[in-house]
Symmetry: C2
Subunit: 187 residues, 2 copies
């Protein structure tokens, strides 16, 4: 799913008082354009315009009768829309296409020099965590590192390797065995 333009279109179609009235009227019985125009007190050309929008998203359909165009509601489209809109699936689908790492990348970029080193270590917790999630990727999963090895790797980012190392452990991104043992990356 690339986006939800159809869903937005349905909402747009319903986001107008006149069109909402038309839907309400057609829920009772079909009407011609002229009749709807009289009922909601607008000109036929305006009603045509509104019906075209409702028709585009499948909420109404038309049938020719004599030389009238009789419009009727498509209840199936309404129900179908209801299900799609408020289901958990829909929520997830809307979310799926968003880049969930965008924020992290922005923060890392804000705090990084062109060579990849950190300008400073973020003081704010949220931003520190974003940077730490970035740093931890310099370590291989399932590999044990000595404290010196950890420091050497972190030194590529910032001189204060002790702080970085401590925060990585404190934030549960890396773990340390017993007393002065080895470090490894979590998950």
């Amino acid at each position: 799913m690339t986006d939800n333009p159809e869903l937005v279109a349905v909402f747009k179609a319903l986001a107008d008082p006149i069109r909402l009235k038309i839907v309400g009227l057609l829920a009772r019985q079909p009407y011609s354009v002229e009749q709807l125009a009289a009922l909601v007190e607008r000109k036929p050309s305006t009603i045509s315009h509104h019906l075209a929008k409702l028709n585009e998203v499948g909420l109404v359909s038309a049938r020719a009768e004599s030389y009238y165009n009789i419009y009727q509601l498509e209840p199936a489209a309404l129900e179908e829309t209801t299900r799609r809109i408020f289901s958990k699936e829909q929520m997830s689908a809307a979310t799926a296409e968003v880049d969930l790492d965008a924020y992290d990348r922005k923060v890392v970029n804000d705090f990084s020099l062109p060579d990849g080193r950190l300008k400073t270590i973020p003081a704010q917790r949220k931003k520190l965590l974003a940077v730490l999630r970035h740093l931890v990727q310099a370590f291989e999963p399932d590999v044990r590192y000595s404290e010196k090895q950890v420091n050497d790797i972190l030194a590529r980012y910032h001189a204060d390797t002790a702080s970085l190392r401590r925060e990585l452990v404190g934030s549960q991104l890396m773990q340390r065995e017993g007393g002065g043992g080895d470090y490894w990356r979590i998950k």
Copy 2:
């Protein structure tokens, strides 16, 4: 119920791709304005604007945390809206406030001279019926009229009283007893 401005407002709030994404994101977890801005790739001021619209209709709420404003979804508002929108009651309510006689009045007006007489008798069936529904009100309910009395009353509207009389009977708005008997208004 005077109108459904709140309902239109909810649809308007959801009728925007960015706001729909925000709702999708907040369905998973709360976010700050800045985080949302990064996730949907818009400036914080724009996100503030969108969140204000969602907040106005009760779809989201905010709580202060440190100096962040954390926004969260209000699922109850969503469900409440779903129910209201697509229920039959809603449809009827939307319809109730519309003047169902507006079409008739328009037709009668189109075919009437300033003094109340008819310019012509409508040739089209729908418009003829609207005019007949108007004419029949010149007769009292539960009163029997002779053919001459009927003609006299109809003559106030048009010279061709025979046609009008025949159409009133044919359209079941008036009834005639047996052979050459009296006429009376139905219902």
